[in-house]
Symmetry: C2
Subunit: 340 residues, 2 copies
DNA sequence: CTGAAAGCGCTTACAG
DNA sequence: CTGAAAGCGCTTACAG
């Protein structure tokens, strides 16, 4: 078991100073060619690679990006990570992922841990609990220490930083409008509780689309689901009592549940009931019928977020500007069988 | 913008030595109570947190685990990560994730990067290309440097290290047996190309189950799929030509495609065709009909893998034993609508 | 009880 | 052309 070789050992073997070895390997012209080549050959032979930790300490940067997301077993977040990874790797950054499990405490803990020198900057999406509490001190703190943060998807206006979002409101508007264009009149909305920022925006889009089309807004057609596991009953009631002809669901899990419940009651999708879901994922693609969705490119969001973060990290110290930007990623409707 | 405070600054402010500060904060009894409390109060006030990088360099351990997986947008791997995260966090470890994208080169690159001091040990699942090439020198090298590696799911016999797997062969056997028990006679196998280790084992289990039940083995009923996107045609042919009454698919993507194709040709699942898939995921749960699967608990695999790695990391240097273990995680059949 | 020194593995300004 | 020294932020054996 040969431990990794260090500069010190090379220096000793070759009977030169550590400085000489270091400079040779960095191809400094300060060092005579003979020595330089000798050192390089030796290092190559022993497969020398500089120790990242030592470099990080010396340079006071780690070339690592910290990602904090609520949940990894979630198609959308996985694709975002993929997107971040792509551009991070291109720029020589590695990626450290921590999960908040939608818990405020875990989010704080993980951020504190990573902020203590492990990474150069954060890309994050807020946990539900954090959004609910509205407590962002841990993020402010990190930013105050000079560590850039990019938020995506689940963001907050209370923090000034770079953000990557989709226009949830207008995407929802567009989805509902498309239902209306297809002649649907009684459109229900199945959504989450309000404190999740995106849920609220999507509701606004829904409402606006109805108003603009002179369709009476009926509060009873808005169903707020707290817990996915018990939502079947609520949805069943909605379908049986309300005589609706379309549903806009804020995520595909709700949508697929709606479809399954509908078919149990004998409703045909899309004939009797059209269904559109927010966030294109794997379920929509393989459900029967397949589900029309608002696609929200996680890859693009990840790419963009990583790009924004790295730009900031590599900006000259003094050109640091506080001009935070919010990038809006395009969405579009993927028409499938659940609408017609 | 107040940068993070260091021991040095505290020492200066309080007019004591760095050693004194360090010891006070570590609650060393060497230091007089008065000084100790004063330092602690000051540190607390300025929210001092030791720099992880400096600690890593000093201690020559990072308290970080490197994970290398082929793909993150994949339910199974996500659950494994979740499982690893759980126990890693419990033990004060953080987790660095790199994706190989099923590419040999990316796998090698990522491992080399992480091996240069960033982490204490690896948990990994081999990329397809690596399994195809059978080139594991990058893993051997890391192990030779004294860095423990735990492999899961896609493993190889060519490397001696701790492993976490399921008994793919007997799980496949069990699945096929259950089809036979339900009176199915012509059972097809839809699988991947052979070099993916788990694919091969599952095929063995399938074959064995047939033999043990005196069902003639027909090579034409084994379909090897190279590319998911073009598999519909192959599957269509299988269903139309072969007059089969059951299919065992090695993953749920194949299974759902089979079901959709079957229903297009007018076959009813499960009446005309029973379908079982390997690896329980989100698709099986929401497909119509829902799919009977062999559940392979990613959480448990992740838990176990992390536990094994941490045990090794925290074993006394000298009690290092080369007694590598292979843990087998239990699987079980989750019966759903696609079989009856 | 407190502090100077050495060291983790590296880089770089400075001396010679 | 080469090397000693200082330093990144910490810990700990050792001296006083």
């Amino acid at each position: 078991m040969k431990r990794k070789i260090t500069l010190k050992q090379i220096a000793k073997e070759l009977d030169v100073s550590i400085s000489t070895v270091s400079k040779s390997l960095r191809n400094s012209l300060e060092i005579g060619e003979e020595t330089r080549l000798k050192v390089q050959a030796f290092a190559k032979f022993y497969n020398y690679k500089p120790n990242n930790i030592a470099l990080s300490l010396k340079n006071r940067k780690t070339k690592a990006i910290g990602i904090i997301i609520p949940e990894i077993v979630h198609y959308f977040f996985s694709t975002v990570i993929n997107g971040i990874e792509q551009v991070a790797n291109e720029h020589g950054y590695s990626v450290i992922i921590c999960l908040s499990d939608d818990s405020f405490d875990k989010e704080v803990l993980n951020m504190e841990m990573l902020a203590n020198g492990s990474i150069d900057g954060f890309i994050m999406s807020l946990s539900k609990e954090t959004q609910f509490r509205g407590d962002f001190h841990h993020i402010t703190e990190v930013i105050n220490q000079g560590m850039p943060v990019v938020m995506f998807d689940r963001v907050t206006n209370d923090i000034l930083c770079d953000k990557v979002i989709i226009d949830d409101q207008s995407a929802a508007y567009e989805a509902v409008q498309s239902l209306i264009d297809k002649g649907r009149k009684k459109i229900a909305l199945v959504t989450t509780v309000d404190y999740v920022s995106v849920g609220k925006l999507r509701t606004d889009g829904y409402t606006k689309a109805l108003l603009d089309n002179d369709i009476p807004f009926d509060e009873n057609l808005i169903i707020k689901i707290e817990d996915v596991d018990t939502c079947e009953i609520t949805i069943g009631k909605l379908l049986e009592d309300k005589a609706i002809d379309a549903v806009f669901a804020v995520n595909e899990l709700f949508a697929v549940t709606i479809i399954k419940t509908a078919s149990k009651i004998g409703l045909n999708v899309p004939r009797d009931l059209a269904v559109i879901a927010f966030t294109d994922g794997i379920i929509s693609k393989y459900s029967t019928p397949t589900i029309t969705t608002v696609s929200q490119s996680g890859i693009k969001m990840g790419n963009k977020a990583a790009k924004m973060l790295i730009d900031r990290l590599e900006a000259d110290e003094d050109e640091e500007d506080e001009n935070y930007k919010t990038e809006v990623i395009e969405t579009h409707l993927i028409e499938r069988e659940s609408t017609n």
